[in-house]
Structures are given as C-alpha cells and as structure tokens.
Symmetry: C2
Subunit: 199 residues, 2 copies
C-alpha cells in the first residue's frame, strides 16, 4: 500500500518482516511511532542500533551478556558441578524463571540438523567438551527441545562426552502440568504411558 | 525478566510498549534482531530514527506526505468538489483502497472528545473551514468512525459549515457486507431496520 511517504512505507515493510507481525500490525506500530513523541522513536531506534554492538556472548557458556563472562558464570553461589545445556540464549531465561536450577549453563546456539546443514562444528560444542574435560562437572542436563533435532543433539552430546565420566541426563517427557488427556497428542500420551512413574 | 544485557532488556521493554505487542512477542522480535544480520537491525533503526523528520503532513489536507503538499492534493485528476473528512492519516489509505472515491481528503487528526479534553481547536478544523470558505466544494463526506465521538464530530462539522452552501454527508450505517444477522449487534440491526432501503 502507498502511505504517501516512502520512509513510512519502508518502515511498515521492515516491521512486517519481524516475527509475529503482519502488514496490519506493522502499519499500526509505524503510525503509533509517528503519532507519539519523537523521543520515543529515537530511543527505540538507538536501542536497535546498538544492540549488536552491546550484546555479546559469554566466553564460557555462550549466554547473553554485555561483559566477557555472564553474571551466572561469575556467580560464586552457583554449583559448578551441574551444567544445563540449552539450544538458544533465551532458553537460559526460561530455565532461570523456574528458580529450580542452581548450576551453570551452556548455550549451543542451535541444534544438529543435517537437513539444514548444521553439523557438530556449527554448534558451540567444542567449548562444552573443554569445560567437561577440565573436570569437576558431575552432570550435564541436556535441555534441548523435545524434537527430533533436539533429541539427536542430546544423543550426540551423551555419546561424545560419555568417556569423560560425567552423567548426561535429559529433561523428563510426559504430560505437561494442567493438561487434559483429551487434548494431549498421541506421542505425548504414548511416552507418558511408557515412562509411567510409581506413586 | 533479566536478559543478561541491559540493552536487550531495555529493547524488549521498548518493543512491549508498542501497540499489539506483549512481553513474549517483544522478546521474540528483539532476539530475532540479535540473531539476524546487523545490517537488518541498522536499517530498521535508521528508518525509525528519520521517521519524524521525513514524514510531514500535507499543508492543505493534513494527510501524510514527504513534501509540502500530498500526492492526492497535487493530482489534477481528482475532483476538487468533493472532500472526504477522516479522523486519522491512515483512514486516507483505507478509503483509497476501495478505489471508489475520486475527490480530495481532509484529515482532522482526532475527533471531538470533551472527556479527553479534545475540542474543535485541537483538531485540523480551521483549515477545513478555510477550504470550504474558499468555495468550489459541493460536498463534504464525513467519514469519521461510527462512534459517539465520530458522530459528534460529524454533527459539529455539519452545523458549523452549513452556512457555506456545501452539502455535508456521512457514510451509510447498516449491516456490513458478508455479515449474518445472527452475529450483528443490536444497535447495527436497529439502525439497519430504521434506514431500510427500497429494493
């Protein structure tokens, strides 16, 4: 659509390329920025501009940080014997939110996916091996997603690091809390049945 | 939530203030920009930065333009006898999309709303009066929204410009195309019944 301004048209198009935004919501956001104070647009523009510059990945675990090492790796209160391995940086926040995990993290920045040309060398796996090899790690909790790629990656990690004497575990699979059998998918029910727990 | 980077946290917060975006979608967009090429983030940042600078409002009708006057006002092919009065700049695109209107526009940049402290002096009404007073306008099609504020504004325009000899009309109200009686609201059905049209 022609918005009477090339800048506005380009901005609407740029917004509509972002995940979860369609043409209508992109238009709504662009017009909102135009209607509101220029300072709000400038603040947003600045944050987007410096994003790549400011945000770095922790040299130890690969999580998001603005320093060399992330706050979790630097925290002396966290257990150094336990490492939770996740696919993406935001998975760290997701696990942190549960307040159940007191160990460290390792972010793979992807999963093994031969179909997309992603092999072990494309993931942050070498430094995981280094951490395990350095010793002192009792358990790797692999928290990759319960997908074929996530499972393959977990299996790869278990096999390649088995010789270093640390246990490799995987998040439990089953019915999600609050779910109803009626709406759970067949695979989840089958898995929950197979791994039924004694009361 | 703590994202390990203040910039990222601020960006997520800034995105979540935009209309239609919640915390989750804001996070998703920020991480998408971080994951993707820096050039995409810089391009988006630039467009947002120059938005207020580039986009202006047409000195004649108040529509969005990057020049002094908008393309519609400058178009010699448009009828100068007919003016469609709308609330917001984007309403111009909405009416234009129908390809049914061949006249000019006038954007009020709001509606009369005493409760929000918006009076006639806060709207782009003075220049509408000037345009009508200058003569040559046969009809003002008031296309404000079918709300109390939109109706009040339409009535105000009709009353204040009645003495200048141009007809003031309002968009028809009734059942929207493709609607079913079952799901239409009472007010719409009552109005459609009252204004029933002869076949």
């Amino acid at each position: 659509m022609d918005f009477g301004s090339e800048t506005l048209s380009l901005l609407v198009r740029a917004f509509s390329r972002l995940p979860g935004l369609g043409a209508k919501s992109a238009q709504r956001i662009a017009l909102y920025l135009l209607r509101n104070d220029i300072s709000e647009a400038h603040a947003l523009s600045h944050l987007i501009h410096v994003l790549h510059e400011k945000v770095r990945f922790c040299r130890t675990c690969g999580a998001i940080t603005e320093d060399d090492e992330c706050a979790i790796c630097k925290d002396p209160g966290r257990s150094r014997e336990l490492i939770c391995v996740v696919e993406q940086p935001h998975d760290v926040f997701v696990v942190e939110k549960t307040r159940q995990f007191k160990g460290l993290y390792h972010v793979l920045h992807g999963v093994l996916s031969p179909i997309d040309g992603v092999g072990p060398e494309n993931l942050n796996l070498r430094s995981l091996e280094d951490r395990v090899r350095a010793g002192g790690i009792q358990e790797l909790v692999v928290a990759t997603n319960p997908t074929i790629e996530g499972d393959t990656t977990a299996l790869y990690i278990a096999k390649s690091l088995a010789s270093h004497g640390c246990t490799v575990t995987r998040l439990a699979r089953g019915l999600p809390m609050g779910a109803t059998l009626e709406f759970a998918d067949d695979n989840t029910i089958a898995r929950a049945l197979e791994r039924r727990e004694k009361l």
